[in-house]
């Protein structure tokens, strides 16, 4: 389990990093290394050059402003998890990050790395999709914004170009009168989820005005469960409504069977998580 030979550069600016990527088709950015290094050790990936983003100061830091939480790509999971203002603006963040790997990994892993890596079972991409976040990326031709819905293509693949660097992640603050919940089921604490669901319910009186529900682990990328949202929107979120939402969610389950879960189990699990999270979100919205 030793990686193949590679070059290593550690530029200090995003421009230099982009240039380093552009010069070598096999070059890859290195963030926290918690996903990239294992794949290199297994020789599943053999980048010819690693462009370490660790020295780029401008990629770090968290700012909460104008109803949005702006997170520099190289911010560690743990920094965001422990950030008071960010979590006050959107408590879903802490609830989601608590499920990402283990503390030691969250100390190294980065928010940008997680999103750029785009594992179909990863939690942060699911959060981004559920809450309607965006990312900024910078490439040889300048920078652009990508909405979460347009970012994730399939398992471990985004719409970023090989020469582009993800620089910032923006997560909207929790809208008023909105309850939230994230719940996943993993075989062991901290593992990638067999399925995870992020639910945001905005209430008007006792009626659900808006529902945003996304799931991870159930397909090639994080997916909005539109039919489940429809089952709740405009209704009192009672047990029947939640069950209907759960049932409606099942059609989005496209993951094949694997060593941990059959198709039938994952479908039922997804439905259970939709029911559970909508119940929790409902309680929290009332508060």
């Amino acid at each position: 389990m030793k990686p193949a030979l590679f070059d290593y550069v550690a530029p200090e600016t995003v421009e230099a990093a982009v240039a380093a990527l552009a010069g070598d088709e096999t070059a890859r950015p290195l963030a926290g290394g918690q996903s990239l290094i294992p794949t290199m050790n297994f020789r599943l990936s053999t980048p010819g050059r690693l462009v370490d983003l660790g020295k780029i100061e401008s990629l770090r830091g968290i700012a909460v402003e104008n109803g949005s939480i702006r997170v520099g790509a190289m911010t560690r999971h743990r920094e965001l998890e422990a950030h008071g203002a960010a979590n006050a603006a959107n408590p879903l963040i802490g609830e989601v990050l608590d499920n990402v790997a283990h503390i030691a990994i969250r100390n190294r892993g980065t928010v940008g790395g997680s999103i750029a890596h785009a594992d179909s079972a990863a939690e942060l991409p699911c959060l981004l999709v559920a809450s309607g976040g965006t990312v900024s990326v910078q490439g040889p031709d300048g920078s652009r914004e990508i909405a979460a819905d347009d970012l994730f293509r399939f398992h471990m693949t985004t719409t970023l170009d090989q020469t582009e660097i993800l620089t910032e992640v923006r997560i909207p603050a929790l809208p008023p009168a909105t309850g939230y919940a994230f719940e996943e089921f993993a075989r062991r604490r901290g593992d990638f989820a067999l399925a995870g669901v992020c639910t945001l319910l905005t209430l008007e009186g006792s009626v659900c005005r808006e529902a945003r529900i996304a799931a991870c682990g159930i397909g090639a990328r994080p997916i909005r469960l539109a039919a489940a949202e429809d089952a709740l929107r405009g209704r009192v979120v009672d047990e029947d409504a939640r069950s209907e939402a759960g049932e409606a969610a099942k059609e989005y389950m496209t993951a094949p069977a694997d060593t941990q879960a059959s198709v039938a189990y994952r479908r039922d699990l997804l439905a259970a998580l939709v029911r559970r999270t909508s119940e929790t979100a409902l309680k929290r919205a009332g508060r």
């Binding site: 193949a4 030979l5 020789r43 089921f185 062991r188 990638f192 060593t259 189990y265 039922d268 259970a272």
Partner: protein
């Protein structure tokens, strides 16, 4: 009298160093100029090798040597059949160091590269071209023994590696007399020990002295030395095998020979350079021994009151592609099958099956978890069918405390001797655990929870464990004349069990010193060259008693010498605090002085030797300084050879809450009693049991070496092969009972493997109890994944 150390929760001696990173595992041993090895491994489960092209690898600048079956000379052989048995088909198939013509499992070593570092060695591995002709495989154990199944070995019909029946009493008569019979089929999956440190071997050849030193992360240094001496045809005195700190073994490192442990020394000798091999995790998952897959069909013949009259068990055991360890695991399973129950009439049939997977050799528990799962699942079933409480049916069948020794004539255990339980208090253990759990109170809570739609369950599992197998171990005790420290050795190795502490306690009690003043050495053939190895929960029993016997003799010598020096009689001497004292007096002499005075001196090195001269001589005799037949110093060796295995036993129980919507459960309480006779150190007993429970939780929920239908391993890393984290292991409540063994002077029994044995049963039993209102069918498989539970729940739903 000095305070007795035996029985005290003495802190483990080895931990501070290990915790500070001062341990020396094989990768920490720096051998200047060492080369590094890596292996090319088979991509196919079963194939013919048409050709191997090593030219590109050989041409790499950093590659020093490439070995295949063609250039390893006398090592190109089938390795020893360690434990032969007449029931093994055609004498049994064993592994070769490097594949010749055929590969038998994906992961089998085909070539070894030796290069300047591991990076270069791995680069070179990818340059070796192996041309395979893949052959068909069958991984399903039952299909593999059917006519026409593709053979793992061409000359072994129906893939049957061995077939054996053991009988005690007359099972046919019992079944004829039965008022009720129950038959249950259970299945356990293949698993692996996954020690934290994988395999590791380093070797240095000294061409000048003709000495070979091998550092091997093994459980059996003395046996490895014997094997190397025979394979290399060098004198045993020229080979030193050292197992330094070893990061876990759990049986995987008792297996001999993994290819690395002979090829690395071979390369070191050939190349006249030190060579190191540090196995990586993927290699450990595909190339190191595994265990556990068995399918049992067990039947119980009973009376209506639950008394079990007879037992028939027919089981299939997956032995992998080779059977170097003989039928040991299956034999242990077959002899543990009746558990702590009287069951007089037993018939057990075992069929060992070759599969195109890495060989199966013992993994902590060694057949016992399987046997426990089979009998305990069957007993739960019998109880349910007869309408008897699951704890009550056990009570009605226990062997009573007055019935020992309880022999099962005809059932031969792994030591080749009839099963003979030496002592136990089974019913008392049941009372203690159900009392502590407050089973009656729990039943009320369970009732109330069901009304709220919550599912609580109680599960219980009993087991017996034959431990402390012979043939023998030795103990050596010496008092250092200069420092007065007590030097103790034995022929075992340690993988972190706490030998250095418990053996120090045993020795310290006899020589009257502090535990910290005992220097304990094992895992080095040069320190102690007679003995067997660490396995089968035998270390404390066999070496512990050997050390005790040697220490008793040393004590006698110390007292005799001290009595002479203090000019009193032996009865007036007591040993404490590292000194010999005159009882009720304040005159004393230190162990260093006694050891010094017992060694006729020429030079006075230190204070002890000077003060020793102030006393009367240690030995009063005429003639030369050493009397005829007298040995210098305080030094004794003795051996302990048990008459037969001593049978520990235990019971675990759990209360779980089950969540049917996500098919998962939470363990609310986990309780355990393991009676290992007199406890040398209760803290270490708890540590051993707790670790075992953790591994048992792994077995119950997670650990599965999955393969696809071509035989490719699907769980070759820690993302796919799940082991419980600390977060998945419950905080067990460990209760103690001590029923001494009459078979050894210290009255002890083994504890090493115990914790793993009943966990799957406990969980299965609790799950059935919790989900009874949902009408789920019986739980018959382990591990119990959410997926499997989902299947049971779906079935139950479709029945309703």
């Amino acid at each position: 009298m000095s305070t007795r150390q035996f029985g005290e929760p003495v802190q483990r001696n080895a931990d501070p160093g290990l915790l500070k990173g001062e341990g020396a595992f094989i990768d920490d041993i720096s051998l200047p100029g060492a080369l590094h090895a890596a292996f090319v491994r088979s991509q196919h489960a079963r194939a013919k090798i048409r050709s191997i092209d090593i030219s590109a690898a050989e041409a790499m600048p950093d590659v020093v040597a490439v070995y295949t079956a063609d250039n390893i000379g006398a090592l190109d052989v089938e390795l020893p059949m360690l434990i032969p048995h007449p029931c093994i088909t055609s004498g049994g198939k064993t592994q070769r160091p490097l594949a010749r013509d055929d590969v038998f499992y994906a992961g089998q070593c085909i070539a070894m590269i030796v290069a300047v570092d591991r990076y270069a060695a791995e680069d070179a591995c990818s340059l070796i071209e192996v041309d395979y002709e893949p052959l068909p495989v069958e991984l399903d154990l039952e299909k593999a023994i059917a006519d026409g199944a593709p053979p793992v070995h061409d000359d072994i019909p129906n893939n049957i590696a061995a077939h054996f029946v053991q009988e005690s009493g007359d099972a046919d008569a019992a079944f004829a007399a039965a008022e009720h019979t129950t038959t249950v089929r259970v299945r356990l999956e293949r698993s692996t020990a996954a020690p934290m440190e994988c395999r590791a071997v380093a070797a240095r050849w000294d061409g000048v002295s003709g000495e070979l030193t091998v550092w091997d992360s093994t459980q059996a240094t003395i046996s490895v030395r014997g094997g190397l001496a025979s394979l290399f045809d060098i004198d045993e005195d020229r080979i030193r095998v050292i197992a330094p700190n070893v990061g876990g073994g759990f049986g995987q490192k008792i297996m001999m020979f993994h290819p690395d442990e002979i090829l690395v020394p071979f390369a070191a000798m050939q190349l006249d350079r030190p060579v190191k091999y540090i196995e990586d995790r993927v290699e450990n998952f595909i190339g190191a021994s595994q265990e556990r897959a068995q399918i049992h069909e067990i039947a119980l013949a009973a009376k209506k009151d639950g008394t079990v009259l007879g037992l028939r068990d027919s089981f299939i055991h997956d032995t992998g592609a080779f059977i170097p360890y003989g039928i040991a695991i299956a034999q242990v399973a077959s002899t543990s099958i009746a558990g702590p129950y009287r069951i007089p009439d037993i018939w057990v049939e075992m069929t060992l099956v070759y599969t195109p997977c890495v060989q199966v050799t013992p993994y902590r528990g060694c057949g016992r978890p399987q046997a426990c799962f089979a009998i305990e699942r069957a007993l739960d079933r019998l109880a349910d069918e007869l309408g008897i409480d699951r704890t009550e049916i056990r009570r009605r069948n226990f062997i009573g405390p007055g019935e020992f020794p309880y022999k099962r004539d005809g059932l031969l255990f792994a030591d080749g001797l009839a099963v003979n339980y030496d002592s136990g208090e089974y019913e008392k253990a049941l009372d203690l655990i159900t009392g502590t759990v407050d089973l009656a109170g729990f039943r009320k809570e369970q009732e109330a929870a069901r009304v709220e739609g919550r599912y609580l369950g109680f599960g219980i599992g009993f087991y017996v464990e034959g431990t402390g197998l012979g043939p023998y171990e030795g103990g050596h005790v010496k008092v250092h004349p200069i420092t007065g420290k007590v030097y103790v050795t034995t022929g075992l190795t340690s993988q972190g069990q706490g030998h250095e502490t418990v053996f120090a306690q045993i020795a310290a009690d006899q020589v009257g010193c502090d535990v910290k003043d005992v220097i304990f050495v094992e895992g080095d053939t040069q320190a102690h060259e007679w003995g067997v190895a660490t396995f089968a929960s035998r270390a404390a029993v066999v070496s512990g008693n050997a050390i005790h016997k040697a220490a008793v003799k040393a004590r006698a010598r110390i007292i005799a010498a001290a009595a002479n020096m203090l000019e009193t009689d032996e009865d007036s001497i007591e040993l404490r605090d590292g000194r010999a004292w005159i009882v009720d007096g304040n005159r004393s002499v230190s162990l260093a002085e006694i050891a010094t005075a017992s060694n006729p001196l020429r030079y006075a090195f230190n204070e002890a030797s000077q003060t020793a001269t102030q006393f009367a001589p240690a030995s009063t005799h005429d003639g030369p300084p050493l009397a005829e037949g007298q040995a210098p110093g305080i030094e004794e060796t003795d051996y302990f050879s048990p008459s037969h295995a001593t049978w520990a036993y235990g019971v675990h129980a759990a209360i779980v809450e089950f969540f049917p919507d996500i098919c998962s459960m939470e363990i609310r309480r986990y309780l355990c009693i393991h009676d290992c006779g007199n406890m040398i150190n209760p803290m270490i007993v708890e540590g051993q049991v707790m670790g075992g429970i953790g591994q048992g939780i792994g077995g119950a929920f997670y650990e599965r070496c999955a393969f696809d239908d071509k035989g490719t391993p699907l769980a070759a890393n820690f993302m796919d092969f799940l082991m419980p984290y600390a977060t998945e292991v419950p905080d067990a409540e460990i209760l103690h009972m001590e029923t001494p063994s009459p078979l050894n002077p210290l009255g002890i029994k083994g504890v090493g493997e115990a914790g793993t044995i009943p966990v799957s049963q406990v969980i299965a039993s609790a799950m059935e109890d919790a989900l009874a209102p949902l009408g789920i069918g019986p739980v018959r498989e382990s591990p119990m994944s959410p997926d499997m539970i989902h299947g049971l729940l779906s079935e139950a739903r479709s029945r309703r």
